[in-house]
């Protein structure tokens, strides 16, 4: 389908104010003609009206006139198109997200536009209001993009015609059409104004670039013109800097960047540590060996003055970030870790300098210097931070593994050829080829070929799945045996893997309620510590032994240094990060911190029978006839009636009939009666097909056949009665086989102390039979779909913390009512946003794993919180000197520095222990 041609010309009429003479006319006309896109401009001096024609925005015209010092208002936009309620525009050349913002803003500012929303992946803008098509396209073109009006979204779905193609250098050189565009690049390595000039020059030198301007503060450059992003990046690289498109980083790149940034910061911290400790350790050893750290003679005074200078140097070189951070946060009425460290080390240094410079002000006993404390604390805290970064890196292993599943390139068919392109360039409806041993790059539907695909990395399901024509394949899974050609159905951020990564990331950054208290405390922590430090100093000054000043300074410094809000703040997020990641590895997606916490507290678990305990694929296992009709005739009638129903049992009947090659008849007056069955008219006969309640409702006598039905039910089959014209003709037994590992998984749940209840719409006898098979003793049977949520409430009223497991589609109200809703998905095509916890594979072991991992995580959080609270609660009074009256012990600030540096490391390391958690599902399955 070709896009409609759009008139590109628009005429504007502008009312000019402030033009007093004829010479103004020439000036205004000239200025308007100089506006890019204007083809003609004239001004009528008598009416003070100017007209301008061309592909241009009214804003540009107004700006041009205002720049001359005149006033102007738009009178008429002479539209060449009729106004409509909304217009769909297809944008070309919008390469990055920032383009979206720009386009939306420019359109929203147009007169008559009420709203403009861009669907970035489709490059479609929906504009509502009365602005004409030509005004809209003109506004977009004025920004440097291409725009065409399309009749509906489908027009853009034919890639070869209108979907934007990534522009390559070869296309430019071969003369392929390239739209004029604006792109923002992020520049690294630029430090000064001369770099800016150099970068701008190198960018404008790229063929096709109209203008390039760099913003040093934001490290970004805006480039307008006709050029590929690659060419721009190369040009910047040639100038000695690094550039990349803004806002377009893939997850893998983000992780790499983060690692690189962490690595650089790690090295910087280590360097800082070495500098500080190489002064601190010798000083401390000197003090320990000689016991002489006081200022009594002039020689000592001079010597210590030099050391004081060196310490200041260490503070500037290695501790700068603490002091800058402390000052900045102080100015914004905030206080953080930096504040405490800066105050503590600063106090020690200032006091020491006072001793050195004016010893006579202090009593002889108090003339002690603490330069070693300042240097040691700075060194130790830098060391602690460095080790913490290392440990933190390990907490994101799981997400890195998920991100690592993404393929880097895809082999797609373009113009009759198969070419390898970066995965970001794969577009919807691309035909993608994967060979054996390759990763499937994006989600899709198989067009050709057959292969087995290993989906274990996403679902935890160890067995490869056979994929053939029309089956769906999922990006990130491994194609094992054959070659597949498939059509891309979800690309970029829409693929299952990208959504899973997004969800895991969000969950990792969310906090369970247990962390709230720590957050509250952390918010007030630092100022409180400052107050405690002052109080402690006051107490020493008032009641302490001589030298009171020295004791006061030491206790205040030690209190400031030992207090560690970081350990408190880190306790919860670090464990959640590891726990949620661990769960994802086991194929369990936990939606957020609350779900994690609630899952750990579950006392009762309701399992839906069909599709959860059983495979959810019922089969016809017995047909007992009672009249003249034979089995085939019964199956044909039942299937004809059921073809309109979506119930899994109905599907099994229809499937059985079609497998036997039976021709179905049309059904009239079809009606589904919830929880009972269906009625309808087939071949002029009134049919009833359903359970005993349906028969009783319609007065069909089933008394004689009840024992047969009971026998079927006791074997775990669901008996369904078929009545023709009010007379019972057959009993059809349908059974849904129990999943192979349901029994073992339920045993695990029971062993972990959880009350397991089965819920089903099936009759009580069948339900009991299935329950007995899997070891469940409590059953809610014959529950109508709308009653499922009530059963959840019933258990909640008994004081249970209730988990509900279902397929997420039919059980939505019950899942929502439960304290934790578990959606069990077979395969990966599950609505991962719908439940608190999503089990990506069908096995119930995922459920046991989910509960086990959430319990382990919560236990870990509690250990962390307990440790962090105890550390602070015990450490701060000891630092203040409460033990001194009893034992004469007053903590050294250096010890406090070491304790503080390693307290947050301890928290992170403890969280890392969670990495050792092993999902047991696979082990059980192996038994």
């Amino acid at each position: 389908m070709q896009p409609k041609s759009v008139p590109s010309q628009t005429g504007y009429s502008l009312k000019i104010t402030g033009a007093g003479c004829q010479s103004c006319v020439a000036k205004i006309e000239h200025a308007l003609q100089a506006v890019p896109g204007v083809t003609a401009a004239q001004m009528d001096f008598a009416t003070r009206t100017a007209t301008a024609e061309g592909v241009v925005t009214p804003q540009a015209l107004l700006a041009a006139i205002e720049a001359l010092g005149y006033g102007a208002t738009i009178e008429v936009a002479e539209a060449s198109n009729t106004p409509s309620d909304f217009t769909l525009l297809h944008i070309e050349g919008a390469g990055c997200k920032s383009c979206q913002v720009k386009i939306e803003q420019a359109l929203a500012q147009l007169p008559g536009v009420q709203d403009a929303q861009m669907d970035f992946p489709k490059r479609l803008v929906r504009v509502s209001g009365t602005a004409t098509d030509s005004e809209l396209t003109a506004a977009i073109k004025a920004l440097g993009y291409g725009a065409t009006v399309v009749a509906d979204e489908s027009e853009t779905e034919t890639p070869s015609e209108v979907t934007p193609q990534p522009v390559t250098q070869s296309q430019i050189s071969s003369g392929a059409q390239v739209v004029e565009a604006e792109c923002e690049l992020l520049i690294e390595g630029a430090t000064c104004a001369s770099c800016v000039a150099k970068i701008e020059k190198s960018l404008t030198a790229v063929p096709g670039v109209r203008s390039a301007s760099m913003n040093l503060a934001e490290h970004s450059a805006t480039v307008q013109g006709v050029a590929s992003v690659d060419a721009l990046i190369q040009a910047v690289a040639a100038a000695g800097y690094h550039a990349r498109p803004r806002g377009d980083l893939a997850d893998a790149d983000l992780i790499d960047e983060k690692d690189a940034a962490d690595q650089a910061y790690y090295r910087k911290l280590l360097r800082d540590m070495v500098i500080a400790l190489s002064l601190g350790i010798p000083l401390m050893l000197y003090g320990m060996v000689t016991g002489e750290m006081s200022v009594n003679t002039e020689a000592e005074q001079l010597g210590w003055l030099g050391i004081g200078g060196l310490t200041l140097l260490v503070m500037l070189l290695s501790g700068r970030h603490f002091y800058v951070g402390a000052w900045k946060s102080l100015r914004s009425h905030n206080a953080n870790m930096d504040t405490l460290i800066a105050l503590g080390t600063g106090t020690a240094w200032l006091y020491s300098m006072l001793v050195v410079l004016f010893p006579q002000l202090l009593p002889e006993m108090a003339r002690h210097v603490y330069f070693e404390a300042t240097a040691m604390i700075i060194g130790l805290i830098n060391l602690g931070l460095a080790l913490e970064i290392r440990a933190r890196g390990r907490t994101s292993e799981a997400i890195k593994r998920l991100i690592g599943l993404q393929a880097k390139t895809a082999r797609v068919q373009r113009d009759g050829q198969e070419i390898d392109i970066p995965i970001e360039a794969v577009q919807l409806n691309d035909r993608v080829r994967v060979r054996p041993g390759e990763k499937i790059p994006v989600d899709g539907r198989v067009l050709e070929g057959q292969s087995s695909v290993d989906e274990s990395m996403l679902t935890g399901e160890p067995m490869p799945v056979v994929k053939t024509v029309d089956d769906t394949v999922v990006g990130g899974t491994l194609n094992k045996s054959g070659t597949l050609l498939f059509c891309a159905t979800r690309v970029g951020k829409d693929t299952s893997l990208a959504r899973i990564i997004g969800m895991v990331k969000r969950a990792q950054n969310s906090k369970p309620p247990i962390g709230r208290l720590a957050d509250l405390v952390a918010g007030y922590f630092v100022p409180s510590i400052m107050i405690i430090a002052v109080l402690s100093a006051l107490v020493w000054l008032n009641f302490g032994p001589e030298p009171v000043v020295a004791f006061a300074i030491v206790s205040a410094t030690t209190v400031l240094i030992i207090a560690c809000p970081c350990a408190l703040g880190l306790a919860t997020p670090m464990s959640v990060m590891v726990g949620v990641g661990k769960a994802a590895e086991a194929g369990v997606l936990i939606r957020n911190g609350s779900a994690l916490q609630n899952a750990s507290k579950i006392t009762a678990m309701i399992l839906d029978k069909t599709g959860t305990i059983t495979a959810g694929a019922p089969q016809v296992t017995a047909i007992q006839t009672f009249g003249s009709l034979d089995e085939q005739a019964v199956l044909r009638l039942a299937a004809s009636l059921e073809q309109g129903s979506e119930h899994p049992l109905a599907e099994s009947i229809v499937r059985s009939a079609t497998e036997q090659g039976l021709a179905l008849s049309p059904v009239a007056h079809f009606e589904a009666i919830s929880g009972k069955g269906v009625t309808g008219e087939v071949e002029t006969q009134i049919l009833l097909f359903g359970n005993d309640k349906l028969m009783q409702q319609h007065g069909v006598n089933i008394e004689q056949q009840t024992p047969v039905a009971r026998q079927m039910a006791e074997q775990g089959q669901t008996p369904m009665y078929l009545a023709v014209n009010g007379a019972l003709v057959a009993l059809v037994g349908v059974s849904d086989p129990v999943k192979a590992d349901s029994k073992a998984a339920i045993k695990r749940l029971l062993e972990s102390g959880i009350r397991v209840v089965m819920l089903t719409g099936d009759n009580a006898v069948t339900a009991q039979a299935v329950a007995a098979e899997v070891g469940i003793t409590e059953v809610f049977a014959e529950v109508l779909p709308e009653q499922k949520a009530e059963k959840v409430i019933q258990l909640q009223q008994q004081g249970e913390m209730v988990g509900m497991t279902g397929d997420g589609i039919n059980d939505a109200p019950a899942l929502a009512q439960a304290d934790v809703g578990f959606a069990i998905g077979t395969g990966t095509d599950v609505a991962i946003e719908s439940a608190d916890v999503t089990l990506m594979r069908g096995s119930l072991h995922g459920l046991a794993d989910a509960i086990a991992v959430s319990r382990a995580t919560l236990r870990n959080i509690k250990q962390n919180l307990f440790g962090a609270f105890i550390y602070n609660v015990a450490g701060i009074p000891i630092a203040a000197g409460v033990l001194y009256p009893l034992s004469g012990i007053l903590l050294s600030p250096v010890i406090a520095g070491a304790a503080m540096a390693f307290s947050s490391l301890t928290v992170v390391s403890n969280a890392n222990r969670l990495r050792l958690f092993k999902a047991q599902g696979a082990q059980w399955e192996a038994r």
Binding site: V101, Q105, L186, E188, E218, H219, S220, G247, L249, L254, E257, K258, A261, D262, A264, Y265, K268, H321, V324, G325, A326, K328, S329, L330, S332, H333, N334, A335, N336, M337, L385, E388, I389, R392, K505, R506, N509, S510, K511, D519, A522, G523, Y524, V526, P527, M530, I531, V534, L535, A537, L538, L541, N542, P565, C566, L568, G569, L570, P573, N592
Partner: protein, 124 residues
Amino acid sequence: MMLWVNVAGVLLIALIIWWFWMYKGGAGSASVSGPVTITVVDGVYQPSHIQLPANTETRLLFLRKDPSPCASVVVFDQLDLSQELPLNEPVEIALKPLPPGRYSFACQMHMYQGELIVEAAAQG
């Protein structure tokens, strides 16, 4: 002498309480049309107090220049929203229209703190 020291100490405590807890500072820049840029640098969000009009969609642009891993995530507790902030990579957060009120944001450890002040009255 000790009296004065004690008075100074008490005054210092009062100052700490006032400076960190009682002081309600003026809000930072408010902008409706474009995104509000918040730089994460040297242990603080700049600006840390951001005035926004109520019931209006807003975009916040976070630019993290602070390499400390603490700064790597910003959390809006009340909005159930969190966002990773890669170093030197502007990240845009789109906020739905909010009812008037104060919404705090912080790093994971609540050491870096900021606040969105959403006000009903339309700002000029």
